[in-house]
C-alpha cells in the first residue's frame, strides 16, 4: 500500500510502498483511511524524539478517520462499513498516513 513516511528516522518524508497490512489480532480493526491528521508531534516522531512502538520504514501520522473494512475476532460494537476516527497508540503496525491503518478497537 502507499503511505507517506520515512525510510529511516530523521529522513525526509516521502511516498513509501509498504507491505499490505498484516492479519488482524483479535482486538484490532482495519481502517480504510479517508483523512489523517498532522501536527508538530509528527515532526518529533520523524526525528526520533518519540518512540511510537514501530520502526522505519514507517508511515507517520497518529490520527485517522475512515471506514472500517475488517475487524478482529473479539471486536464488539464496531463492524465493517462503520465510519470511525482513531488515535491508536502505541502504533499497532504503521502510522495513519497510509491507505489502510490497523488500530486498537477502543471506543474513543
Amino acid at each position: 500500500m502507499r503511505a507517506a513516511g520515512v525510510r529511516q528516522l530523521g529522513a525526509a518524508v516521502e511516498t513509501l510502498e509498504l507491505p499490505a497490512p498484516r492479519a488482524l489480532r483479535p482486538d484490532e480493526v482495519l481502517i480504510e483511511v479517508q483523512a489523517s491528521g498532522e501536527g508538530n508531534w509528527d515532526e518529533i516522531v520523524r526525528t526520533g524524539g518519540w518512540d511510537l512502538g514501530a520502526r522505519p520504514p514507517l508511515a507517520l501520522g497518529v490520527e485517522a478517520a475512515g471506514l472500517v473494512v475488517a475487524t478482529g475476532d473479539r471486536v464488539a460494537g464496531v463492524t465493517a462499513g462503520d465510519r470511525v476516527t482513531t488515535h491508536s497508540l502505541p502504533l499497532r503496525e504503521q502510522g495513519a498516513w497510509a491507505e489502510q491503518h490497523i488500530a486498537a478497537a477502543r471506543p474513543a
Binding site: G39, N40, W41, W50, V62, H87
Partner: protein, 114 residues
C-alpha cells in the same frame, strides 16, 4: 577508574570513585535518559502543564470542562490534548458524544505525582 572509557583516560581526575559513581548512574538501564528527557520536555510548557495538573486532579474530564476550568479556549485545549495523546501522556474515552481525558500510566504521571 574501571568505568572510565579509554578515550577519556587523559582527563585530569580528582576523585576517581566519584567519577565511577557518576558513570554508573548515567549508564545503568534505569537512568532511561532519553525517555525521561522526553517526559520533562512534555512538562516544560505552561499550557501543557496546566492541563495535565487539571486532568490529574479531575480526570476523566472533557475539553469544554477543561477550558472552563483553565480559562484556555476550546481550540487551545483541543490542540494541546492532541499533542498529549500523541505523546501517550493522556488517553481518551468516549461516552456517547462526550470524550473525556485522563492521565495514562507512564513516566509523566510519575513526575506529576512528585
Amino acid at each position: 577508574m574501571h568505568l572510565l572509557p579509554a578515550e577519556r583516560s587523559g582527563h585530569r581526575i580528582i576523585d576517581g570513585e566519584r567519577v565511577c559513581e557518576a558513570i554508573a548512574a548515567i549508564t545503568c538501564p534505569s537512568a532511561a535518559i532519553p525517555a525521561r528527557a522526553q517526559a520533562f520536555a512534555v512538562l516544560g510548557d505552561p499550557t501543557r502543564l496546566t492541563l495535565l495538573i487539571a486532568i490529574k486532579a479531575a480526570g476523566p474530564i472533557s475539553v469544554s470542562d477543561l477550558a472552563a476550568a483553565t480559562g484556555l479556549n476550546d481550540t487551545t485545549v483541543s490542540q494541546t490534548l492532541r499533542y498529549l495523546r500523541a505523546a501517550q501522556v493522556v488517553s481518551a474515552e468516549r461516552d456517547g458524544r462526550v470524550i473525556r481525558y485522563q492521565l495514562a500510566d507512564g513516566p509523566v504521571m510519575a513526575l506529576l505525582a512528585q
